[in-house]
């Protein structure tokens, strides 16, 4: 009896929490958007935005396999404008690579075309 009541309450809480409006902070923490909005001037807002862009960009680099210290120094080498252009786009911007991977794909396509169009 008690455990089924507990279960009902827990399920209710889980659903209730999932329906809370999204906040960019965690419980008890002020969200970054609130910090930005309260900044006294555009200059202060810029400082906060730039700082957040830098930490976001560094975090994204780390999540893509760069070690934390390198990520920090790489982001530090870039200007605010450069970092803001990267922020959130590291996964989609062009990366110069020219590895063998695509060679194999192209080779397969060429072979497939030859096989199906000419050989059969």
């Amino acid at each position: 009896m008690k455990s089924s009541l507990k279960r009902i309450v827990c399920n209710f809480l889980v659903i209730a929490m999932a329906m809370l409006p999204f906040q960019s902070g965690q419980a008890g923490m002020i969200g970054s958007d609130a910090v930005i909005a309260s900044a006294a001037s555009q200059a202060d807002r810029n400082t906060v935005v730039n700082f957040l862009n830098r930490t976001d960009t560094a975090a994204q680099l780390v999540s893509l396999g760069v070690d934390a210290n390198s990520a920090k120094s790489r982001v530090a080498s870039m200007t605010d404008a450069e970092v803001s252009q990267l922020a959130g786009k590291i996964n989609s911007l062009p990366v110069g690579a020219s590895g063998l991977g695509t060679l194999v794909v192209i080779g397969l396509i060429v072979w497939a075309v030859w096989y199906f169009a000419f050989r059969r």
Binding site: A97, T102, I106, W111
Partner: protein, 326 residues
Amino acid sequence: MMPAALYRSARLLAGALFSLLVLSGCASMVPQTMALRDAWPEGVPQRYEMAGVPFFPQEDYQCGPAALATAMVSAGVKVTPEELVKHVYIPDRQGSLQAEMLAAPRQYGLVGYQLAPSYDDLLREVAAGNPVVILQDIGVGPLVKWHYAVVVGFDYPAGELYLRSGQKQREAMPFTYLEHTWKKSAQWAIVALPPGRIPVTATEPAYTAAVAAMERVGDKGAVTKAYAATLERWPGNLGASVGLANQYYAKGDLEQAEAVLRRASDKHPNSVVLLNNLAQTVSDQGRDAEALTLIEKAGTPEPPFAEAVAETRALIQKRLAGGARK
């Protein structure tokens, strides 16, 4: 290796087809190469090659570190592609971002400068002895394959440019094909040069910004040299004057800092930044009354300088009133 050989012949085929297309009149596909026919950039020789540029055969996916090392060693910095991996390579994306290619040289005291998207400018820089790193799409057809390579020479009568590229120490590429592969990156091209060696196609605002960017992480000696060179090339440049004076100030060389700032104020008598920095420098040398006149001239400016000016004024007034000289 089968796929590589197929790819090479696919590329040769693409290049050949391309040249055929151009000859058959699809000149609109390579407008800049066509423009070179009518107007070869003035003062640029028809043939030029930098044989001394080193070659670093690239590892898988690491054309970024290899190309950057090529340019940086040419600029006099001892570095290897392996060292640059941690500065420009992103393991999970298996490649290097353009912004990081431009920024990485700053940590080594070099000025990274992005060229204007122009064939003329590419040729000018190469002919001036500056290797140029470009981003190309060397894919075949709809498949995009980004690749960094370094342009080290050209022979216009022979119709080709020479690149350090991938595993090839001297890749000869037709002008038409280079334009085609370069178009997709919006003709992205950079040089990484030692401070004091200004790219021949550099514009004043872009180069000043490039030096200011290096100031973030470059060593002080390099930054000082770079600002001094900027000022020599463009006397009266405000950004370079402020930057150079700041370098002297940080070193404790207040007289030099003041001299630079005063020269700049001749050209920019109402610049709030100059007035503030000059007032601070003059006050630090004990001439507080003079400093007060300067800071009063700055008035009450808009942000972002308002706070700095107010602080400087407060400090000078405190000193005049006989407070501690801190």
